[in-house]
């Protein structure tokens, strides 16, 4: 990669109590069944006339985005880049029900808020920000493709950028999961937003070395992982921590299934990104974290993080 990219700020709203917290990595416990979303006081971040319409995913996203910007003291990012797997499900479900069952005029609000780019759009409205605005929707790879877009923006000289991902759970998803025979881990909601910059500072959590997506291939082919690391002059053995989902990576290196901590949602690798950055900034002596997202076996997302001191 041509430019160096640093994580200046991070904010996550999830079933874990990590919003506004630094140095949580060492003490985090896996989620218990029946855990709930830990939600901050949205009123402190969003105007009531805007808040009244917003579903869970919008509230979580805008609040995390605002918090990340506040932490990094940035007023206007040079890009707002969002990833989401399933988008605004609450409003999608509401509009579907409405037009299928109501006679007469159909209320428009849920249609407007069901479009995937509502999240990035609302963030830009909130900030009166006119810069690059985009929404990535490649199911379990949406965070990685958004991240790669962000890395390119910084290479192009546009820094800093706001990059994030979010997904919301609705009860209907549990019905679908049961039909498909999936019950292992709890389906959850979350949003994670980051300020990425081409400049390091004393506040930087970690450096982003590289990211890649490999879709449509057999997810157990480990050579894509070694190939990715090789292109960055590294090997698997040099990693201090591997955060993985789906099939575990065949290695003796310390490895953690991040979905045990985040629950299951399409863009859960965004949670792993926060965990990895937090780990590197708080666990001394750690140098590299590798994220291997194989939440769906045919889609592999890879992200390589490095500590600031290394």
């Amino acid at each position: 990669m041509i430019a160096r990219v640093y994580i200046q700020a991070a904010a996550t709203i999830s079933h874990q109590p990590v919003f506004g917290v630094r140095g949580f990595a060492a003490s985090l416990s896996p989620l218990e069944r029946g855990s709930e979303l830990v939600q901050p006081a949205y009123k402190e971040y969003i105007d009531p006339m805007a808040l009244r319409r917003m579903s869970k995913i919008l509230r979580m996203s805008i609040t995390s985005a605002c918090e990340a910007l506040r932490q990094s003291d940035i007023a206007q990012p040079r890009g707002i880049i969002v990833g989401t797997g399933l988008g605004c499900l609450l409003d999608t479900e509401k509009f579907l029900s409405n037009f299928l069952t109501l006679e007469g005029l159909i209320p428009p609000t849920s249609f407007i808020l069901s479009t995937h780019n509502t999240i990035a759009g609302q963030i830009s409205l909130n900030l009166s920000c006119h810069s690059y605005n985009i929404t990535h929707t490649q199911n379990t790879l949406s965070f990685e493709t958004a991240l790669i877009d962000g890395l390119m923006k910084i290479e192009e000289g546009e820094s800093p950028v706001l990059v994030g991902a979010a997904d919301e759970h609705i009860p209907f998803l549990d019905t679908v999961a049961a039909e498909w025979g999936y019950t292992r881990l709890q389906l959850t909601s979350a949003a994670s937003f980051y300020v990425l910059s081409g400049q390091a500072s004393s506040e930087s959590l970690a450096e982003v070395l590289d990211a890649e997506v490999i879709a449509g291939q057999n997810g157990t082919d480990e050579s894509v992982i070694s190939g990715f690391l090789e292109r960055n002059g590294l090997t698997l053995a040099e990693m201090d921590l591997i955060l993985s989902s789906g099939t575990a990576v065949k290695t003796d290196v310390k490895q953690m299934d991040y979905t045990a901590y985040s629950g299951i949602y399409p863009t859960a690798s965004a949670f792993a990104f926060h965990y990895g950055a937090d780990y590197l900034s708080s666990v001394s002596g750690s140098r590299y974290v590798l994220i291997v997202n194989r939440l769906r076996p045919e889609n592999t997302g890879l992200v390589l993080l490095k500590s600031i001191e290394a």
């Binding site: 009531p48 808040l51 009244r52 007469g104 005029l105 159909i106 209320p107 428009p108 609000t109």
Partner: protein
């Protein structure tokens, strides 16, 4: 003159239709502008929702958003419109 009862009912319906979670019936003044910065702060999406509200609760059809601007100016104008067209 439209009745106070109609205006109160209308306010309740508006609060519900527009998700005005923080707003109580007593907070809405009869003659105050509903739209724009100086008023209750409603926007063009709310205008569409009010058209739906009139059809759902009063079986009245405001046919386009432009006509809506006159009708939806305030609680008073909405109530007067309902009274006039219901008879």
């Amino acid at each position: 003159m439209a009745s106070a009862a109609l205006k109160e009912q209308l306010k309740k319906q508006i609060i519900e239709q527009l998700n005005l979670e923080e707003v109580k019936v007593e907070d809405i003044e009869d003659s105050a502008p509903l739209f724009g910065e100086g008023g209750a702060g409603l926007d063009s999406i709310d205008a569409l929702e009010l058209i739906v509200l009139l059809e759902k609760h009063y079986q009245l059809n405001v046919t386009n958003p432009e006509e809506g601007k006159q009708v939806f100016y305030s609680i008073d104008t909405m109530a007067d419109y309902i009274e006039k067209h219901k008879a």
